[in-house]
């Protein structure tokens, strides 16, 4: 607080601070279509590889192809949380409104990718383990990660004042980030005690190139998909906030 006469942050009104998000809008708008097109191309190439140009596993048959969706989404479930944590730092340290927006846009995307990873994981689990749900270490910690994402979304929705929400959610996100490795460690410890080691490891070093190529393509396709969706969601959120501000100003009769 500025009680000591030291003006540490430039203080502007909420809507004039939106000037920065405005610049963000204008320089990112031309990026969206190329990104979307690139994502689509990579996705099509990846799917073509996955369906037609990669061998079926000698044990698991065609179900191995689920991997090309499962592994990228599982990676994204963690990557999005990392992106959210960086945005949370931006909110806490620099109080940048764009960081708030990025944090808010990422949460539903992260939840969606995590849910997809769980869904494809259980689709894969049915033929491999013989059951849709196995309390395997990775699956379990992904499930808990989904709960954390959903809690963050619920927290966002519970606040009326979005500026205040951003700071509180940022604190929670960072505490979550500290906890995620602990949760992962504890769940691994727990699952190895309760059952023999994982039945199947997708990231085995012995994976042949015929599987790796489509995996990498899909990997980049999904990451780009996230980037594109994140940009779109940020644009939507910025516009939504502008709209609210405009409505409020109209309601105040533009007294200011």
């Amino acid at each position: 607080m500025n009680l000591n006469g030291i003006d540490d942050t430039p203080k502007m009104s909420w809507w004039s601070r939106l000037a920065h998000p405005g610049q963000f809008l204008s320089w990112t708008r031309p990026l969206i279509w190329p990104l979307a097109a690139l994502t689509l191309v990579l996705m099509l190439v990846g799917l073509w590889f996955a369906f037609f140009n990669s061998p079926a596993d000698y044990q698991m048959g065609d179900t191995v192809r689920i991997m090309y969706v499962h592994v990228p989404t599982a990676w994204l479930s963690q990557f999005v949380y990392a992106a959210m944590s960086v945005s949370a730092l931006g909110t806490l340290v620099w109080r940048h409104p764009l960081a708030d927006v990025s944090m808010k846009a990422a949460a539903p995307l992260g939840a969606a990718f995590t849910a997809m990873a769980l869904f494809t994981g259980s689709m894969w689990g049915r033929p491999t383990w013989g059951t849709f749900w196995e309390w395997d270490g990775r699956m379990t910690s992904t499930l808990i990660l989904l709960f954390i994402y959903l809690g963050i979304i619920a927290l966002w929705r519970a606040f009326d004042d979005q500026l205040r929400a951003a700071r509180v959610v940022a604190v929670f996100t960072l505490v979550g980030a500290v906890n995620v490795p602990i949760i992962k460690f504890s769940v691994d410890w727990w699952s190895t005690l309760h059952q023999p080691a994982s039945v199947f490891r997708a990231d085995g070093p012995t994976m042949p190139g015929s599987l790796l190529t489509p995996l990498f393509v899909m990997f980049f396709a999904f990451t780009l998909l996230f980037v594109t969706l994140q940009l779109l969601a940020m644009h939507t959120e910025i516009r939504r906030r502008r709209l609210i501000t405009l409505e409020r100003r109209a309601a105040q009769g533009d007294a200011l």
């Binding site: 954390i148 606040f159 769940v187 005690l193």
Partner: protein
């Protein structure tokens, strides 16, 4: 320091003096534990094998139930604003509250746990481990709980949100808490679980007052 003791004393007075919720929470703990046999049948062997888990779940739920009274009454009556202008840091206030919360919720549960252990057919050594693991693990639950309550205190109807937010964060506490009692991997694993549990509690106690204070300050201003 006088502020810290003042907050601690006030919390204890409010929670313990007439009509406090301490007995209600203990009753809730006992009833949750006692209701399980009705759901799964009175098989002594089965009950004994899952008793540590039941006791931990009951303690976990009882501690979540008591969260809403941690900061919300203070916010409603204006004491929270007073804390923010007090001659002590908000983290100090939160730390005092965490200690009081543990003393008035976790400790009574641990004292009441022999009764549950008896009706759930637990043997003596297992119960001793259960009591120890509760003693070591509940401080982490209290610390995480205080953080959850702090994050939701600015929300008008945040009562249900705090348990949802912090339950995933408490998974390691449950895992190591029960792991320290029912050693599937042998006594070595159990004692390492006990150490992990103590480490978790220490870490949570050390960090949560600061995180909670940050959440309160920023949620209010």
């Amino acid at each position: 320091m006088s502020g810290f003791l003042g907050v601690l004393q006030r919390e204890l007075r409010l929670n313990l003096s007439g009509g406090g919720e301490v007995l209600t929470l203990v009753l809730f703990f006992i009833i949750v534990g006692a209701i399980v046999p009705f759901a799964i049948g009175p098989d002594q062997v089965l009950l004994a094998s899952i008793a540590p888990g039941i006791i931990w779940i009951a303690a976990f739920l009882a501690m979540l139930l008591g969260l809403d009274r941690l900061f919300r009454p203070d916010r409603d009556d204006g004491t929270l604003a007073l804390y923010r202008l007090a001659d002590m840091s908000m983290a100090g206030v939160v730390a005092a509250k965490v200690i009081a919360h543990w003393l008035t919720t976790a400790l009574p549960l641990i004292i009441a746990s022999p009764f549950l252990a008896m009706i759930l057919a637990m043997d003596g050594p297992t119960f001793a481990r259960t009591a120890l693991s509760l003693l070591l693990g509940t401080p982490a639950l209290a610390a995480f709980g205080a953080f959850g309550a702090a994050v939701t205190v600015a929300i008008r109807r945040g009562g249900l949100l705090a348990p949802i937010l912090i339950a995933p964060l408490c998974v390691p506490v449950l895992i190591f808490g029960v792991g320290a009692i029912a050693p599937l991997g042998g006594p070595d694993q159990a004692s390492s679980a006990m150490l992990f549990l103590a480490a978790l509690s220490l870490m949570a106690l050390a960090l949560s007052p600061f995180a909670a204070a940050l959440a309160i300050d920023w949620g209010e201003e």
